[in-house]
Symmetry: C2
Subunit: 134 residues, 2 copies
């Protein structure tokens, strides 16, 4: 499940340097670590395997050249996990960008929604169906 | 090749309704149709197979309940293609959202770049390496 395909609004993927990007998946994983204190639990909430969650944490460390998440029990990622200062800063900046992008694009989003209502007045807003790639 | 992983800046994926989204792939495909007059050529510029490009055009028609692209030669998608009024409107709104989101998040992007420079001063900005998911 990718919850960010369901909630109406803009999703931001920030390319900070070529091949270094932060998007909803990494941001939600970082936020999950804050809220659950565990990489595994944070991943589970997003429907990610433990392997994938851990892989994203490692990828962020490689990308930024320093860890965004630390684990307290001698490196075992199943132990308690929390964000480093770098992790908190990156998450905070990303969330601020999300908020500001949403505010800056509100009028156009409303127009796109009106277009959809006009072409598909009977649209089942809660319907299933896979999201096609962006 | 997904060129939007290389260029620094925010990428926008706009979820207009649950499971209806427009992102860089669809927008660049629509723009390619404007510039090349052909779905196949537009797809090629993005490294998409013809099948995939056509699939995205069909998906957008399903999503919006009306075509965003028309083909002039009796439905053959390899013939001349152009955007419908709906297609032009959707592309225009998406591009405006992109511009406005970029302007609204400039300061935070610069901060993220400074963080990267600090942790990875010798970073090879042009290096290869696959982008990890968002």
């Amino acid at each position: 499940m990718r919850p960010w395909n369901q909630t109406v609004g803009p999703r931001l993927r920030v390319v900070i340097a070529p091949n270094v990007a932060v998007g909803p998946g990494k941001a939600d994983l970082l936020q999950g670590v804050v809220e659950t204190g565990s990489i595994a639990a944070a991943g589970r909430r997003l429907g990610m395997s433990y392997k994938r969650a851990w892989g994203l944490v490692e990828a962020m460390k490689d990308d930024f050249g320093a860890p965004l998440v630390t684990t307290s029990r001698g490196g075992s990622a199943r132990g308690g996990a929390e964000l480093t200062e770098l992790g908190r800063t990156v998450l905070g900046l990303y969330r601020r960008m999300e908020d500001q992008a949403a505010a800056a694009t509100e009028a156009e989003l409303a127009e796109l929604q009106r277009l959809l209502d006009r072409t598909l007045p009977d649209r089942d807003q809660g319907g299933p169906g896979a999201t096609k790639p962006g």
